[in-house]
Symmetry: C2
Subunit: 192 residues, 2 copies
C-alpha cells in the first residue's frame, strides 16, 4: 500500500451547494456565516458566495434589472457548480428573486452533487423593521430603483428544501435544520 | 475503521492551477484541451477556464481596456483559487497580457495550492500566420482596437515555470512538460 500523502485535507466524497434565497435583510448572510463556521469547525472546506460580496467581484458591473440579476445568479451558480463538482461545499446567499434562475442553478448543480434550496422566509415587515443598512427606507423614498420587496418582485420558491422562519427559529436552530436536510441528500458525503 | 463511502471520487490531496498565457492564436486552448484530456483520462476532475468561454459567462460585459482585462483575470483567478482550495485542478487559458495581474493570481493561488505559469511563447509572426479566426487581419485593418500583439501590449512573463515553443514542441510533448513541472510543485497531489 502506498504511503498516504502528507497534508491530505478532509475530502468530501460528494460536493454540495446550499443556496439561501430571501428578501433583503431576511438574515441570509447571518445564517450563511453560521453555516460556514459549522463546516469549518469540522475541517470541511467552504466557498462562500454572498450576494453583496459577489457583486463587488464576479458581478461588479451588473445592475439590478432582471437580466442583470439573472446573469449574477448564473455566475454564482457556475462557481458553486465547479466547487460542488470538485467535492467542496458552496454556500450561496443571494436575494435571487426569480424562480427560473434558481431552478436553473438547481438543475446544473444536481448533475454534479447535492443541492438544497433554503428559503429564508422572513416576512417583509420584519425585514423592513430591521433594515440594517437603511435600504428599505431609501427604496420607500424612491432613492433605490429595483429594490426587491418594494419596487421589484420576489417570487417565493415553491421548491424550497428548507423554509426558515427567522421570527421563530434561532440562527443555531436554522443551521441544524439545514445541515440535517443536507445530510439526507448528500448521501456520499463524508460527515465528520 | 468506518466503511468507506460509495462513489468516492478520486480526490487530490492538493489542488493545482495551471495558467497558460500567450498571444492570441498562440495555441493556449489547444494545449489546455490536451491537458484536460490527460487529467480526465486519469479520473481527475478539471475546471477549464478558457478565455473565450469565460468572456461569454463570467465576464460577458467586459471589454478589452486594461482595467477590464485585469478584472477578467481577477475573476478567472478567483474561480481557479476556489477550485484549487477544494483540491481540484483548474486550467486557465487566457491572453492575460499584464504581468501584475498574472502575479496577483499566482499570489492568491499559492496560498491554497500549487500554481504554475505556462508561457505559450509562440512568436507573433507565427500567431499572425495562423490567425484561425482572422482576428489579426482585422486588427491590422484597424477593425479591432485593443488587440494584443497588434494594438495592445503583451508583457512576456519573467516568472514562467514552463515556456512552450509551439514551433518546436508537439502538443503531446507540451502536455508532458507541463505535467512534469506540476509534479515537482504539487507535492501533496495524489497522482494516478
Amino acid at each position: 500500500m502506498p504511503t498516504p500523502p502528507i497534508h491530505r485535507p478532509v475530502c468530501n466524497s460528494r460536493g454540495s451547494t446550499i443556496f439561501l434565497t430571501g428578501l433583503p435583510a431576511a438574515g441570509k448572510t447571518t445564517i450563511a456565516g453560521a453555516l460556514e463556521r459549522w463546516f469549518v469547525a469540522r475541517d470541511l472546506t467552504v466557498t462562500m458566495l454572498d450576494g453583496d460580496v459577489v457583486r463587488t467581484t464576479l458581478s461588479s458591473e451588473l445592475g439590478f434589472s432582471r437580466e442583470d440579476r439573472d446573469l449574477n445568479i448564473r455566475r454564482v451558480g457556475f462557481v458553486a457548480a465547479e466547487v460542488t463538482r470538485h467535492g467542496g461545499i458552496a454556500i450561496c446567499a443571494c436575494v435571487a428573486p426569480y424562480d427560473e434562475a434558481r431552478r436553473a442553478v438547481r438543475r446544473t448543480i444536481e448533475q454534479v452533487g447535492a443541492f438544497i434550496l433554503v428559503h429564508v422566509a422572513t416576512r417583509l415587515d420584519t425585514c423592513e423593521a430591521r433594515d440594517p443598512k437603511g435600504l428599505y427606507a431609501r427604496a420607500r423614498n424612491g432613492l433605490l430603483p429595483h429594490f426587491t420587496g418594494v419596487t421589484d418582485p420576489y417570487e417565493p420558491p415553491t421548491d424550497a428544501d428548507v423554509v426558515i422562519d427567522t421570527d421563530k427559529l434561532s440562527v443555531d436552530a436554522a443551521v441544524l435544520e439545514i445541515v440535517n436536510s443536507l445530510r439526507e441528500r448528500a448521501t456520499g458525503m463524508v460527515w465528520p
